[in-house]
Amino acid sequence: MRSQGRPGRGMIRALAMAALLLGAPAAHAASPGATVTGVLEIAGKQVPLPPGAWEVAATGEQPATAEQAPFGVVRSAILLLRDGERVRALLEVNANDIAVSGGWASPCGNDPLPPQRRLLYRSQYDAACAETGAVRPDSAGPPAWQETRTAIARAGLQLPETMLTAIALCADRQDFLEVRLHLREVPGADEAARQQALLDWATTYAALLDEGLSRRIGRLVLDWPGRAALLQDSPVLDRRLLRIEAMRASGAITPAEAAAQELAVVQEVPMSAVDPHPRITLWTQISYQLINFGTAYSVTRDVPLSVGIAASEYLAYSWLATANDARWADIESAVMPQPLPMPALQHLGTPVDNTGRSGLMALVP
């Protein structure tokens, strides 16, 4: 959440205003061998880059799957950032090439979400989320990663054994953009603090991807995980406030309207679709059986009879839920545009948990 009254914020805003007035940075196309700063352009979308001169190590397409939907291909790029003879960070980007019409099915996964995944918003046709983890940058991964490994070996660069990973994903009705930032190290007192800093950064970054989907990334101050909080906690929010300030200064908006708009900008949060009718879960099933048994006993005063009623209703409910879901799945596809399944993406390396063991880290199924 946005903190108020932070010392030095006025100076930061002044610097940001100066940056804004300088105009949007040039977006660099993802071509192998190029060095890019600021914003990377891929598949008609924009990806904000943490500070530094990033080298585009490899570009390519995700291997096509048999059920490839009508989005052309998934474009991939892997960028690396050097720190002397070492690889300081890797940035992995995936984006669809051709827009679709009905969005993507559960791009942030299904409930219950794992604890290290944070949902910004979710509805029938859009979603944004962030996640953290760790990865062993071994030989597993898509063709672009194999090319990157070759380039790293050729340059004699050192890859760490494991890297901390921040994942951000943003999907709307037409496109998706997924970015993974793999870092050699993240500032923090312990593993929990590092993961928290990483998750906070990934959450802010996912909001930036929202702008990248519509190619609206302008000049902004984006820092590294663990350092972002020292500068500003929401570059998107600050930029919107600065734009309103610029409108007021140009006379496009009255001071009173500007004040109201600034208040609206600070107060608004992306809302998620509420599911007012929770699906059949363990809690639903248990609570239904307790209710059925309790009510049956309160009327019949007969335990065996009540157990019989509750048990037979349990079996009938299971069948009914399955039949109802199947029927409504058909109806939904007939009355609403249906999202496409998210393409199965290959990512670099092998996910590991805190102890270095292989684990699950697959924000995109």
Binding site: Y125, D210, V265, A273, V274, P337
Partner: protein, 362 residues
């Protein structure tokens, strides 16, 4: 023989000129691309618009309202007026459908996407114009600009409107045609709108190729099919083949999927909240019927069965209600129903007082 190259050059120049005349234009407004229909347009009005009725939709800065005019062939009047409303800054919580997409207000309409945050709809309707009345500032400027150029403005138009919105942005694009009116022409305009809506949606995320305009209003169905969103996607598939990113076979397969999806496109989509609600109601009805049948089989007493069914249904509803309250408090994410809302702007024309296949203005 020297004349031959000159003739060829002349023909090439004419062809190029004709192509330019058909290119139309794409307006860059509020970080979005708004494609116009083919033709030569005159920018006539550009001012802050407003939501009508006013509603809190977040910090959008201002509503940009633009009016463009396309003169008639004889240059004495206005053939088409374009009316654009877009937000300047992206918001966090979405926009909505235009009320005119409701069939109660339009002769022809279609809602392709309807949800709490996404919208895509079109309509064809009649509009009356009172040029002496108070109008939004952009229209006042347009009225002055037309007067200065000696262009007669129409009193009644057939209006074709396109609305697309996502969580961040909205484009409301309306073309008011001075000469169109019978049912056949309206059906043609409806087909035009359905083919063009996807292109406007691409502009919402700044995804249109440079210079990509909307097709002309008078294209037949065959030409429309070559000018709409389906063809745009297929052209991109071909580009991927040319780049070597996609095999020809895969491109053909994907093109077939795109065409099939377009044919299946729903003219009238329901929103997810409505479908969820109906799904829940159908499940609850089934549960109550199951309760009644099973308790009667076990007890063989209709009174006991009825009492049990009523109790079970009531308690389950209370349980669901309480679970939702707990769920809302436990969840860190702010939520609202995935139900579409209506968001409108102050427009230039007015709905006819009555008749013409439309409900009168409220």
């Amino acid at each position: 023989m020297r004349i031959v190259p000159l003739v060829v050059l002349l023909l090439v120049a004419l062809a190029a000129g004709a192509a330019r005349a058909q290119t139309g234009r794409v307006e860059e407004i509020g970080g979005k691309q708004v494609p116009l229909a083919e033709g030569a347009w005159i920018a006539a009005g550009d001012a802050a618009g407003r939501l009508e009725p006013a509603m809190p939709l977040g910090g959008y800065g201002i509503i940009r309202n633009q009016v463009l005019l396309r003169p008639s062939a004889d240059g004495r009047g206005v053939a088409v007026m374009a009316e654009i409303n877009v937000n300047e800054l992206g918001v966090a919580d979405g926009w909505g459908l235009a009320a005119d997409c409701d069939p109660d207000f339009s002769a022809e309409s279609g809602v392709l996407v309807r949800s709490g945050w996404d919208a895509a709809c079109w309509f064809v309707a009649t509009r009356d114009w009172d040029w002496t009345a108070d109008m939004p500032p952009a229209w006042q400027q347009a009225r002055t600009a037309a007067g200065r150029r000696g262009l007669a403005l129409p009193d009644r138009t057939v209006t074709v409107g396109l609305r697309v919105a996502n969580r961040r942005d909205v484009i409301d694009l309306r073309f008011h045609l001075a000469e169109a009116g019978d049912a056949a022409q309206r059906e043609e305009l409806a087909e035009w709108a359905a083919a063009s809506l996807g292109l406007v949606a691409m502009g919402l995320t700044h995804g249109l190729p440079a210079g990509r305009a909307l097709p002309g209003f008078d294209l037949g169905p065959a030409a429309l099919a070559r000018a709409g969103i389906v063809q745009e996607r297929i052209v991109r598939l071909q580009a991927l083949v040319a780049q070597g990113a996609l095999t020809e076979e895969e491109a053909r397969r994907q093109a077939a999927v795109i065409r099939a999806a377009a044919e299946r496109e729903l003219p009238w989509a329901y929103d997810p909240a409505t479908v969820q609600g109906l799904r829940w109601f159908s499940m609850q009805t089934g549960l109550a019927a199951t309760d009644a049948g099973l308790t009667y089989l076990w007890t063989e007493q209709s009174l006991q069965a009825a009492a049990l069914t009523a109790l079970q249904t009531g308690l389950r509803s209370v349980r669901t209600y309480l679970t939702n309250i707990v769920w809302t408090h436990v969840s860190n994410t702010a939520t609202r129903s995935d139900a579409a809302r209506v968001v409108d702007f102050a427009y230039g024309g007015r709905r006819p007082a009555a008749g013409d296949g439309q409900r009168p203005a409220p």
